[in-house]
Amino acid sequence: MFRTEMMDINMGPQHPSTHGVLRLKLVLDGETVNDTDVLIGYLHRGVEKLCETKNYHMIEPYTDRLDYVAAMYENLGYVETVEKLMGITVPERAEYIRVLTAELQRIASHLVWLGTHALDIGAMTVFFYCFREREIILDLFEAFCGARLTYNAYRIGGLPWDIPPGWIDRVRHFVKIFPGRQKEYETLLTKNRIWLGRTKGVGILKSEDAIDFGVTGPCLRASGVDYDIRRAHPYSVYDRFLFDIPTGENCDTYDRYLVRMEEMRQSLRILQQALDHLPAGGVMAKVPKRIKPPVGEVYHTVEGPRGELGFYIVSQGDDKPYRMRFRSPSFVNLQALPHMVKGALVADVVAVIGTLDIVLGDVDR
């Protein structure tokens, strides 16, 4: 007689489209996903523990290694948290340069997301187009801080150095050419019927679920929630720029795609404004050599490309944090995955992993 049974399948940690070392235990009914167990920790390095033994300056390179696709934001969040903890005011020029590099990083990170997401769904060419433009941004970062991936670009109280000569013109050039390049990706994807079929109605995350799961960033906004920390709790000088917060309606993968594409355009707008109003002056506040924040604790969040990047520092008055906690958006967003793929097909799991835009270094810390 016929007998059917569920099939357990291990997706990862070695799998082409789990973006690193994510492991999913899928319970499949044919090709339909019945249950998902997300197993993480393959990249856990105990950074939080390590931070308790390092002084505040030495921690910044560690933050680079969390979300290595958008390390600028980890730097930014970290130094801002320490500055908030100590009440340091950063020179305006430094704030503007931070905004410039951070928004460039957002575009670069979204380009990596777009490339890999499209690659997962089978559109290989977009990947190479995206990396062409990301290369320009990485070159800019290299000129700014000497590194292309793990920047260690900021210092507590400002920047270690001013921008190199000619850098502004290079950024202006990028801002000029990028919209045309973005059209190229959109030609390949936005109205492509297969792309629409693969992303529309896939991985639906209703707004109340999204908030409940703590999902932030483009994923939350695609669910129709107008929440961007740059607007809700402005940090740095973000309250001075005009930009829109794109939101979605259908809460699906396609909306998340559209939101991120629009975010890149808004980042360009911010870049343009920051370039036009870049003030002169120094880039470093007066900060003691040994950072010893007063006793207290702060929780500071910045809007990273993946969502809310939170830093919780407990200081006991030493030159080392007593407790350091990274609230990484990938970790929290990944929690919604089992909910989003329930009843979907295996191919949709891949699309949803791509659309959540996780970085395993950020998930596992």
């Binding site: 082409p16 499209a118 060419t125 693969r198 097909l345």
Partner: protein
Amino acid sequence: MSDALIRNFIIPLVQVLVVLGVAAGAVAYMTLVERKILAFMQLRLSPRRVGPHGLLQPIADGIKLLLKEDITPARADRALFTLAPIITVIPAFTALALIPFSGGGSFNIFGYPVSPWIADVNVGVVFLLAISSLGVYGIMLGGWASNSKYPLLGSLRSAAQMVSYEVPFGFSIIGVLMLSGTASMVGIVEAQQKAHLWYFVPQILGLFIFFVSGVAETNRLPFDLPEAEAELVAGFHTEYSGMKFALYMLAEYTSMIVVACIVTTLFFGGWLRPFPSVSALAWLNFGLDKLNPALPGFFWFFLKTFLVLFVYLWLRGTFPRYRYDQLMKLGWYWMIPLAIANVILTGGVLLLLRR
């Protein structure tokens, strides 16, 4: 040696060996061409290290695949595991026997006439369909014999996909058969010559359906679900390595070439040069027909086949992958009704014209 023996045995054998050799070479270089074209589309470099412009790359790849350790998983069904790639590769090559690579005359070698095709069967198209649907067994068995989950999923997808697309694949040809009144591949080309019309004009719908189903039959993007890299790791050939893996690749590329050859033959006039009846364009043959009337046919045939293959690669460079259910929906909701409509339409028009 008796004349009959040479005519019936030696000559076909030599023909087969030549076609096999050329096909294997074409497959090898197809991989290089694919990489070159994709690299061009994707703004990156293609293989350039092995030989000038990477021309020796396929040979290096072949040697590598031959020398790789041939792993059989411990829990695999050994016999079937070995047999499966062979089952896939044989029908792929067999189909080449029916392709007329040129026409208009035969070569005279040592006094024996040698035709530029291996066999001209009067049910050629039907035989092609029959043979090409055998390849799926190799894929199914390979996925099942691996005794592993991803290959199993891949082979199940493959079975469903190939069975579904077999139907429009077959139906789309019927229009051509109606127009030409023969099922022989050579006859179809000759009918196109006689009609002064390549069949892609009246059968544009048939061509579309045939090509799309052909892409699906050969598991190429956007229909490469059985080996969908991002989902099923490598699909049915996840557990294969070394030469067995190479055989699967060989079969895939050969089927690609076969489908391109069939498209050329059925819809683009096979070996015919553009406007074969316009004598003012005879210079297009570059005087080759004075050496032998069959010679320019090879050029035109291979050129057209290459252009069809280029479209294959173009698709791969452009499209994302379908999802399994969407693929099925496309096959059953669109392709099959369209193919049947094409048959009815062609038949109706023919009836009206003959009256």
